[in-house]
Amino acid sequence: MKSYLPLIIGMTLVTYIPRLVPLTFLTKKTIGPKTKQFLLYIPYTSLSILIVRGIITAPQDMKLATAVGIGTAGLISYINGNMVLSVFAGIIGSYLIINIFI
């Protein structure tokens, strides 16, 4: 069987370096208020973009199931804030859609 080690090492490096570099270099410097404000928005903008990307890049037969899973998890977490419950509800939601429509 083919070894995927070169690919794994390459992927590891391009993933780890962006995680490492800002953390080690930015801790030395002081950051201006505008930059701080910008960084403060990152969790919201990136999560929102990842969610939308999840739906629009899903395979055609999984689009609805993905959207329903995300919607269910979002709704439950909005109501009671429990992440575990929300994730399970999301999985069950998409499971039901797959079984009903596909």
Binding site: Y41, S46, I49, G71, G90, I91
Partner: protein, 243 residues
Amino acid sequence: MIKNKQIKHEMKEGLLVALPVIIGYLPAAMAFGLLAKNTRIPFIDTILFSMMVYAGASQFMALELIKAGVVNGSIILATFLLNLRHIMMSASLSVHFKKFDRRYLPIVAFGITDETFSVSSFNKERLTLPFVLVFYLLSHISWWLGTIAGYLAGEVLPASLQSSLSVGLYAMFAALLFPEIKKSNQMLLLSIISAIIYTIMHYSKIFAPGWDIILGIIISSSIGIIIFKDEVETVKDVKEVEN
């Protein structure tokens, strides 16, 4: 003695905050293990993907590209673009990790994922080194343990459940974001703006494939600075970051 007690307490807090991430990771990691097996990736390589790369979305993408026969160089480039957003997350956390012993930063950096980053950002006041180390380490372990479980036993599950497990990753993104936007109308608005901007960028194909995520994050966050210029809420949040 008091210091030890404090560290123990912080470690326990780290464990508690890790639990929802662990439980969210397990189904998604199982889905990855299962899919890797179906893509005929050897067992050891599958574990190494989760132990070393440790980035859910790009691991799933890599499987699709491997199946499509794409060469390694292109998969690595696509991974780089997809994970470039971690620069923003790492920069955002650096503000809070300033006080940490610098020797631990390479370990902490390895543990930054969308999920651990989001949970960390939403628990700023608790970010001590023992807290972060326990939280990140347990999250990492659950990712590759879940992968092993999926590879070995995933086939037992019905096919439709197998597909819905992979939705777990996105369900977790939603479960992280929604309680936070409930607290702030500004962040609700900013999240909606980000979603619209990304959608436009994705379908209009203005930028080369892969660049849409990182540019979407930069553009949306910049819009946030422009539209929330003088708002009290934002200023208060920025102050919290400074402390």
